[in-house]
Symmetry: C2
Subunit: 332 residues, 2 copies
């Protein structure tokens, strides 16, 4: 029997369709494999093929030279520009403003690999440390309200360059889905004086069936109202609204957990394309009792059909309980 499930933060209903239940092998997908065609602009030695770096962690060498482990550069084809004045104007009944913001690329590691599952935990921790530094720096720009940090892995997930990288888009607005999550968790807090994500963690730890992994620092869940098969959330165990204020051990814990999880996903689902998105507190706040940062990972296993865009309504052919059980049993 199919079932409606309500996501407790935003209130979104999802159909979890057990009749159409899909096992990992039933999904059509493109395997993401490293092809290494042509010259890679993200490989060491090709620093002159990218805009000058904004930030780099390096063992040796000067700026824009080899020797780095993680490197942050402006996007060569930015969707937004940092320069210019911030103008808002009406256009009849419409509103517009110029495209002020930042669009950066985080080159995860010097090796020409496609996935963070293939690098060391230390390297992955550096990537999150780069997120932290960029989040802190961009807060100095008072025009900006929210920073999106995300990864498109594999061409079906929107990646145009193969070499493992993440992206940052800093915006003068708070995106709608983020606002809905902030509002929803605020409503829950007003009602219960507790963080909804902390309550989710509490219940999931008791139930166990949707928990993929848990250690002292973080927990990995297949969320109750997963929109997509094998959707996964990594949350810090202790309440925290902003990644950038997390203690150093969280970065290490997050890195090793993410690495293990990506290796499990690659093994269980045959190297699928995936996206991850950091859900973080806003730039104006430093600490919120109602919001809880987390990383959402979505393997691209199904085609998003039209009605899902038209309605914000999702049908998920794999229960999160099955997904969690399958991934728990997969060797990393």
């Amino acid at each position: 029997m199919p079932e409606f499930r309500k996501e407790p933060v935003t209130g979104r209903w999802v159909i979890v369709s057990t009749d159409r239940a899909k096992r990992p092998r039933d999904f059509i997908r493109t395997q993401v494999v490293v092809q290494k065609k042509g010259i890679c602009p993200f490989c060491p030695g090709n620093e002159n093929r990218t805009p000058p770096e904004i930030l780099a962690f390096r063992a040796h060498g000067g700026p824009n030279q080899p020797g780095w482990t993680t490197r942050v550069i402006p996007n060569k084809f930015p969707a937004l520009r940092v320069e210019g004045d911030f103008d808002r104007e009406p256009d009849g009944l419409y509103d517009r403003m110029n495209g002020i913001g930042a669009h950066e690329v985080i080159i995860d590691c010097p090796e020409h690999i496609a996935s963070l599952g293939e690098t060391t935990d230390t390297n992955t921790a550096n990537v999150f440390w780069a997120f932290r530094e960029r989040l802190a720096d961009l807060k100095n720009d008072v025009r900006l309200k929210y920073t999106l940090l995300f990864k498109n892995h594999g061409e079906p997930a929107g990646a145009s360059i193969e070499h493992s990288h993440s992206q940052l888009i800093a915006l003068p607005i708070i995106p709608m889905a983020v606002q809905e999550e902030l509002d929803g968790s605020r409503r829950y807090f007003d009602l219960h004086d507790r963080c909804v994500f902390c309550d989710i963690i509490r219940q999931e730890r008791r139930d166990g069936k949707r928990v993929v992994h848990e250690d002292e620092d973080v927990i990995v869940l297949a969320p109750y109202a997963s929109r997509f098969p094998f959707e996964l959330w990594i949350l810090p165990r202790r309440h925290a609204s902003h990644l950038e204020f997390a203690p150093a051990e969280i970065y290490r814990g997050l890195a090793s957990t993410l690495g293990r999880l990506l290796r499990k996903i690659d093994r269980a689902l045959e190297c699928p394309a995936y996206n991850f998105v950091l859900h973080n507190g806003t730039m104006k706040e430093t600490d919120s009792p109602s919001y809880h940062w987390h990383l959402e990972i979505i393997p691209r296993l199904t085609r998003v059909a039209g009605f899902e865009w038209g309605s914000g309504f999702y049908i998920n052919p794999t229960t999160p309980e099955e997904a969690a059980s399958f991934l728990r049993d997969t060797i990393a």
Copy 2:
């Protein structure tokens, strides 16, 4: 210079990125071509391969026999079931309910074609007439609150069967994105005592640059804050909240406009996959002064990247002005 534009109904901001501007030929896409492999369950003569029909328009023949022009059947692998009692129950802090609802398939025409652009206007009008009859019939089920009517055209858009068909999902809830549109148009109405869609039509007719087509009955727009390249909306010129109460001439006008538009899209964009979704009033209302039904068409030209799901925030590489101009100049 990239630009933020605000969608006046929901308040969603979109980046229209003119720097990354893409012309129709720049998009990677799969051409949707009819392959006709194996036996098609939707072709006349194979009626016994589908569940028994719910509705059919036919020139001759009995139920579940050839002779029909448009045929409505239950989905063989439904995401929801009509049978059973409607149970809601808590699951700790979560909410769930059983998957009551309807999931139907509208087989658009007897010919084994992939697109409504290839059939006659009379046939397409029949498809909308079938939408109308199903909408009216499903209103008798008091458990249901909203009916989604949509089409997935081509495999990249989520179609699993090639023969031209549409789908219907009737739900005991109002989907979140639909609710946002209803709420947004209501807020506008409360402020101005006018329908926001009527105001959009008024402004677009005066401006002209985002109008693709216009006749006595309907208008086709590339919306100001298009989320996707070549996103198109067909709206009735005169205010109406529900398709099912439209006068007969609207169905004819809608059918001939949609047919022409799909032929233009096929010619301009080389037969892309696309989705369309009917945005309609709710099942409990019969007439709303603030809501205005319309059909949203989204050609699948770009990969939706991860951050778009994480944020509800879209970057569109083609301005609606360019898209409209290009389609105006394309022969149907």
